[in-house]
Structure formats: C-alpha cells, structure tokens
Amino acid sequence: MGAFFQNQILSMKWLNELIGNLLSAMGLDTTSRIGGSVQFFIYDVIKITILLCLLIFIISYIQSFFPPERSRKIMGRFHGIGANIVGALLGTVTPFCSCSSIPIFMGFTSAGLPLGVTFSFLISSPMVDLGSLVLLMSIFGVKIAIAYVILGLVIAVIGGTLIEKLHMEDQIADFIRNSNSSVNIESPDLTVRDRLVYARDQVESTFKKVFPYILVGVGIGAIIHNWIPENWVQTVLGSRNPFGVVLATIVGVPMYADIFGTIPVAEALLAKGALLGTILSFMMAVTTLSLPSLIMLKKAIKPKLMGTFIAICVIGIIIVGYGFNAFQYIFI
C-alpha cells in the first residue's frame, strides 16, 4: 500500500508509462536518447504542473489562516528558543514573497519581536515550505522529505538563536529602528469562500510566475538525464569529490529559482549518481538565498548583519549536505 501510494499517486509512474506508450505508438523509440529526453520532459512537466496546482491550492488555503499579522501575535507569546522554533514553524505557513520581506521585517521589529526570532522566520520561510515537503516526497520519498524539512527548521532555529546571541540590534536600518509605528491593524475575517477564492488566485498567479522555471528546470533535467555521462556527474557531485557539497552550495546561492524548478534538476542529478546531500545543499542554496531577496533585505539591515545572515545560511546548508552524504545509506 505504501509503495503503491509512493509510486502511483505521488510519483505518477502510470503517467510515465502512458507517455512512453503514446510516444512509442507515434513511432518514437523511448529507449533512444532523444526519445528518452522527450519522455522525461513531457512526464515531468505534466507531473510537476499537476502537483504545483494542487499543492498551491491546498497550501494557500492553509496560509490564509496565518497572515503575517497573526503570526506576529503568535510569536510574541513565546520566549527564548521556543520563540525561535515557533518562528521557524510559522515561516513555513505564512504567505510570503520576497517583495514583502521588508514590510514583514519592519512589522516584526516594530512589534518588539527579538531579532533572532525574526531571522528564524526569514530563514525557514523560503527554505522550507509545505510545497517543498510534498514535492520532495513525490520525488525522493517520505524519509528524505521529512529529513529535509527537519534539518531546514534546525538551521532556522540555530541561525536565529546565533543572530540573537550576537546582539546585532544596531544593525537594523535606522528608519526602521527610529520609527515608532504602533499601528496594529487587525487582519480581516475571511469566510470559507474568501479563502477558496484566495487559494484559486494564488494558484493562477504562482503558475504564471513559476511555469517558465519549471520548463527550464525540466529541460536541464532532461539533458542531464540522457546526455550527460554518469562519470562526469559522479566526479563532480559524487563521492569522488570531497568538495561537492561546497561547490553545489556556492553555485546555488546566487541562482534564483523556485523549488518547483530545482527539483527536476535534482532528480536527474541524483539518478546519475550525485550524492544526496550534495543535491539537497544545492536545492537549499538556490531557494534560501537569492540575489533578488538579498537586495531587498539589504534595504532593511546593515552589511554586518547581512554578512552574518548569509554566512549562517551557507554554513548551515553545507553542514546539512555533508550530514546527508554521511548518512545517505539510511535514506536510500
């Protein structure tokens, strides 16, 4: 039953077979390189699109219960490391886009939330979200997905706590520190209908935004899948290269892609013999840190805090990568 759920529902193996049969019927040899690439591309685009629409809908519905105003209130009730954990958890369910990062940052800070809690939230928010959990389950299985999420939360909690301990409150941009906005607006009450409409709108806008990334991601995945020699992948990202994790992280940081776009690449690399931890480091680096979000954040915090934030994320991601590589045998 578990295997059926994994293979047919989450991974949609039936879809792959269906597409394979259709392509063969059209006279394309799916065991050839080109045929295989075409099959991988069509299967992955359809699979990820279905998952994306379904997931975003469910997630947006859940997220509509956690507007930032409410998350801020909840976090305010906790203290110490408990507040960091709650911050990291709420980061996964609070709707958030990079252009909102400054207002959220300001809102949290002006409400008197500790800097570390805000950062736990900011780290976990892009790295771990509900969508990535289900998508990872679909491709890498339940164990890996849960491990990814837990480790992401751990990085967020530790990172936030460290920033707290470093007392960098003076590193917040002056206009935020000097403002004494005490306006506390209530989030509006939503009906079930409102939430459904919100979820539908989110699916529509996310799909439009992310679809090009999926096409590119799957395209790269298809190329890796059928054209890149296994040897190369193993040499650069496999057990033969002790610096694979560092390399994957450094390459991933400046890249900006949605997790939906990175997963097909990760999937293809894994199949070619790249190590699991190396792949996960790459995915975390791409989704957590990206130039656009760093540029936004730069307006709200000063360089020293910015550097600390980046360093903590990078080091955390690298540790996770090596950890996964060391204990890979448990997961695969």
């Binding site: 252009c99 906005s181 607006i185 806008s205 307006k299």
Partner: protein, 75 residues
C-alpha cells in the same frame, strides 16, 4: 476620494495599481490615486504584507492582488 496603493514596486504591486486605475475609470469616480513605494511611509500604516490598498486612509486590503472588479466592489 483618496486612494493609495502601497507596495515595494514589485510585479504584484504594479498589478494592483493597474487594477485600481481600471476600476476607478470604469466606475467614473473622481479619485486621486497615489502609488507609495517608500517603506517608511508604508510602515506608518502598519502594513506587513504588500501590496495593500488604502481608501480614504482606511486599509481595505493587504497582501492580495485584487482584480479590477474586486476593487470596484470595495469602491
């Protein structure tokens, strides 16, 4: 009537601004539409999720890209 669209200048905020303009034009209302991207100003309203829509200094929507017909309803 005074309408303000608040946002950091991202695509979503631009979309709300366009929808608001469309709704105002459609309803033929005399309204002054302002587009505010200054974060310090946005903060004064206590907004935490952009884009937000403010009509006569009252926050009517935040964190959502409303369609023109939704804006028209609020107007």
């Amino acid at each position: 009537m005074n309408i303000k669209v608040l946002g950091g200048g991202c695509a979503k905020c631009e979309a709300l601004l366009a929808a608001t303009k469309e709704a105002v034009a459609e309803k033929g209302i005399e309204a002054e539409i302002e587009y505010i991207t200054d974060m310090a100003k946005i903060m004064e309203y206590g907004i935490m999720s952009t884009p937000a829509l403010i009509i006569d200094n009252k926050v009517v929507s935040m964190g959502r890209v409303l369609k023109a017909k939704d804006v028209a309803k609020i107007l």
